[in-house]
Symmetry: C2
Subunit: 387 residues, 2 copies
């Protein structure tokens, strides 16, 4: 159940030969309509890959017919030649599908600073077009994997319509998105304005609140394609809710499969003066290498939580350091900025999931940001990635 579960979509995933491993590396998702509504959210990095520049322009008019995605190369920091490669990929794919190249979205993921082998890639596109099917979503999910250990798919059904999605992303997960490629489809009848607003709303509280290693990618892209094939226009809030559920499900799968992680950590900040303040404090904790390494060692080191909370400027998140409470997996290890319950009551080894709750006692807003522990395997995977 993924991008081809909603009506009006075909997909494929094939092995073009971009990856040295010989694993699938090229995916195609086609919207057969009748609508061709599209929306996109992209990395906020100032250094962006060629396909991001291209796709941001393509989706500007709210219309797209298909998206072609490759792993095995990010096509980032590749200059004018790299942009020409993306352009050529869009033109070649559009011609094969009989659509306008200006309605063809492109996504890439892999090593930065290397040109893509275009002959190999374009032959892969032809192969993918030949393999398009109404059950091809899972193959597409597999073909966009990089260091992912499992493919990620999701699906939520409405009454007569549904939302489906695929995602990849195992490192570089970060705010402003990650090396996260996500394609979400729906057969609901919506216009471009609703698609755009729904997608921005859904990403703001899901993909944007995943921070695996604090690193922001040059290639992050989350796309929504709507075919209207169900003929059903969901009531206000219904499509938005389903889209948020699919996004949250995929985001949670990304965290669970982050490079080398042995714990998933939910950092919840309560009683902040605003949601932004809560996110800022949670983000500071999710970026503390010291705290994340402690969790890897199954050490409920709440002092490192407080040290991270203390780095957030008071104008961003007002609180009194002598009122801070911290609970780890329900044990109140820190009370009023000092020692609380015995830390030995926290058994981190027993569960993959770790719940850190920080009470600021400053207001009524709250937020949760997800991250992972910092492990030997993270270091290993990221030191060996390109060599």
């Amino acid at each position: 159940m993924s991008v081809t579960s909603p009506a009006g979509f075909r997909a494929a995933g094939v092995t073009a030969g971009l990856k040295a491993s010989g694993k699938p590396d090229l995916a195609l998702v086609v919207n057969d309509g009748p609508l061709a509504v599209a929306a996109g959210v992209f990395t906020s990095n100032r250094v962006v890959a060629a396909p991001v520049v291209w796709s941001r322009a393509v989706v500007g008019d709210g219309v797209a017919r298909a998206v072609v995605l490759n792993s095995g190369g990010a096509n980032a920091c590749t200059g004018a030649e790299g942009f020409a490669d993306t352009h050529r990929t869009a033109e070649h794919t559009a011609a094969a599908l009989g659509v306008d190249p200006g309605d063809l979205l492109v996504c890439s993921t892999g090593l930065i600073g290397e040109r893509l082998p275009m002959d190999t890639l374009l032959a892969g596109v032809d192969d993918a077009v030949a393999h398009l099917s109404e059950t091809g979503g899972d193959d597409a999910a597999t073909a966009i994997m990089t260091t992912d250990s499992v493919s990620k798919t999701s699906h939520v059904a409405g009454e007569g319509w549904s939302v489906g999605g695929i995602a990849k992303g195992a490192g570089m997960l970060a705010p402003g998105l990650a090396t996260m490629l996500v394609v979400i489809t729906t057969d609901a009848v919506i216009d471009a304005g609703r698609a755009d607003a729904a997608l921005r709303g859904a990403t703001a509280t899901t993909f944007d609140r995943v921070d695996s290693d604090g690193c922001m990618s040059t290639n992050d892209t989350v796309l929504l394609l709507a075919s209207g094939a169900s003929g059903v226009e969901p009531a206000p809030g219904e499509l938005e809710d389903a889209l948020t559920r699919v996004s949250a499900d995929l985001a949670r799968q990304l965290v669970a499969d982050a490079e080398g992680a042995s714990h998933d950590i939910a950092v919840t900040v309560e009683n902040a003066t605003s949601e932004e303040a809560a996110v800022a404090v949670a983000r500071a904790v999710t970026r503390s290498n010291l705290f994340k390494a402690a969790v890897f060692g199954n050490d409920p080191n709440w002092g490192r939580v407080l040290a991270a909370v203390g780095t957030v400027p008071p104008e961003v998140a007002p609180y009194d350091a002598l009122e801070l409470d911290v609970a780890i997996n329900g044990v109140q290890v820190c009370r009023a900025g000092g020692v609380g319950e015995d830390r030995s009551l926290v058994d981190l080894a027993a569960h993959r999931e770790v719940q850190v709750t920080i009470d600021l006692h400053a207001g009524g807003a709250s937020a949760t940001v997800w991250t992972n522990d910092l492990t030997h395997d993270y270091v290993h995977e990221n030191s060996a990635y390109s060599t």
Copy 2:
């Protein structure tokens, strides 16, 4: 050659028994005058340890007679009881030395969130007082070590006067200082105003530009004590220059001994619109786990440098992403935001030191921030620290 090299100082380092390892854990540095000038720079963390609160108040009038430092416990997040412990430490030490408790500085380092065993600590103070000597600086440097593998000392001589220092700090090195305890002494004749200005100037371009793991400590303290025992008042700039050289030397030693590091990385940003912009861009690169893990793998992954540079907001550091140049150890691996010289020309395995130079082509300012690679040993040391 350390804190007891300048005239007018005695020091000691003893084993009080605060560390399970049985290694030295209590240090004392005494200024015998005739001057008792002091200045201090402290962590900018909002969650601060009791000794930071105490010492910040003590140094407020520019006068201090001695500093007592313990490893084996940070006395942070220990509430009112923890502050009372610091107060009692100052009173006990001051009484043993025959000085005012209000002129007694206190520093602590170790695990956060645990009370110090006060009987053990105060007995250690008595022992340290008994062992004070004019050659005790090296013992003091040893007694403040935590996960440091070597003690850090430095000395720079002027004409008839000198500056000496000791430092500890192997993890949590970060902007706004680190779990860095530094004591610098001089026998130059200076007043409190000059001491304060000189210390702030020296730390701004040395300790403040070391960022090992982006984590900011609750206990960071850099102290300057001036005895005036040389009778010499250095010409304008001379004392400041010597202080900066001692600070830079100690900061460099901290980087070289950071937890688990196998490479020291100097990130230099050139042709920025301002020094602040250069520091912000350099800081972003020194905080990229992905880049730091790549360096551990001896992989000159300049794409991860650009991805980090791209996270700095344009209002902080204006530049055009298509004009960025990056050199690693002198090899111009990225030109104009795209592929430059062959990355295989960079041999990171041959040298511990890595020089990353980023040219923003935006102005005339530059700055260097030091960091380390992210290694298996970092993860190991920080996951096993408290257990």
